[in-house]
């Protein structure tokens, strides 16, 4: 996958299948540590210890349709190729958090890419779920008062504005994609995310 936003979409699809109500995606650049951290956290069905341990193994799957599952192993490999690390925290019945770190300036790190497309697709295709996306740099909270530290997108706020208009309307999906793109491009280019 040529963009981290595609890995993120792929991992978030696991949260969709896990029956999550809320998925929180946080992308944080730490320029002084030359690190980029990406986490995807859901409140879905979670996994027991053994399943969570096996989840990043490409030949481990709970599916019966096929013998391989490549999404998590692929994300893990991409992280480790850049000197980063990968972790899954999960608890059955409570949800799952997948965290990957990357070398921010590492030549093999894929660019973050089009998170607008990823978020608008997740939100529009799963209207009964909510998604939060935070992009920030350094240790500053993403929702700092002046907006300089980062950006937060929350489908709960979008739905409040929509007041009954479905978030799956193609025009709303196109709006969300460009809203996220326009509000994050400065940060992305400033920190080469």
């Amino acid at each position: 996958m040529q963009e981290l936003s595609l890995n993120i979409l792929d991992i978030a699809e696991n949260s969709v299948r896990a029956g999550a109500a809320l998925v929180r995606i946080v992308v944080r650049a730490f320029p002084t540590e030359d690190m980029l951290s990406v986490s995807i956290e859901d409140d879905g069905s979670g996994m027991d210890e053994e399943t969570a341990k096996g989840a990043a193994d490409p030949f481990y799957t709970t599916r019966t349709t096929r013998k391989v599952g490549l999404g998590l192993p692929y994300f893990k490999m991409n992280a480790e190729l850049t000197g980063g690390a990968f972790a899954i925290e999960s608890s059955a019945g409570h949800g799952t958090k997948v965290t990957a770190t990357f070398g921010l300036g590492h030549i093999d790190r894929a660019p973050l890419g089009d998170m607008g497309q990823t978020m608008s697709l997740l939100a529009g295709a799963n209207p009964e779920m909510d998604f939060v996306y935070e992009l920030c740099a350094g240790a500053e909270p993403a929702d700092s008062a002046d907006g300089s530290g980062g950006f937060v997108f929350d489908t709960r706020e979008v739905k409040q504005v929509l007041d009954g208009v479905p978030i799956s309307e193609p025009e709303v999906m196109a709006y969300m994609a460009s809203h996220i793109d326009e509000n994050t491009k400065e940060l992305i280019s400033a920190y080469k995310i």
Binding site: L70, V158, M173, Y175
Partner: protein, 123 residues
């Protein structure tokens, strides 16, 4: 920082349109395979292009959404089009560039683009 104000204007416009519509089975559904295989093969820009085309043309009876892996990973990106009362049409090896023709010919015009359908593949 761009606010959600533009969304309010969009909501007002859509609210006036939504009330005129029937919801339910009379809609054309476009489903794009969005499992690992589909995503890796380029399904996301295909879905985004369908959304863009449907939005720009203001097509009110079309929904664009995602599905999982339907088992033909070698033909990804795969797109299924469901027109009410018609048989499902499966397009394979899709790209962003192929979307406009499917929207114009099939979804708007009612003519299946057989060049892109799975029946036309021999590999």
């Amino acid at each position: 920082m761009k606010s959600l104000d533009e969304l309010k204007a969009l909501r007002d416009k859509l609210q006036s349109e939504v009330s005129l519509r029937d919801d339910g089975d009379d809609k054309t559904k476009v489903l794009v395979g969005m499992a690992t295989c589909g995503i890796a093969a380029g399904a996301r820009p295909v879905l985004a292009e369908f959304v863009e085309q449907v939005a720009t043309r203001g097509l009110k009876n079309v929904t664009v959404s995602q599905t999982g892996c339907i088992g033909i990973c070698q033909f990804e990106p795969v797109v299924e089009v469901f027109v009410p009362g018609k048989e499902k049409v499966t397009y394979v090896n899709m790209s962003k560039e192929k979307v406009a023709r499917i929207v114009a010919d099939h979804i708007v015009g009612g003519n299946i683009v057989s060049d892109y359908t799975i029946g036309n593949r021999h590999s």
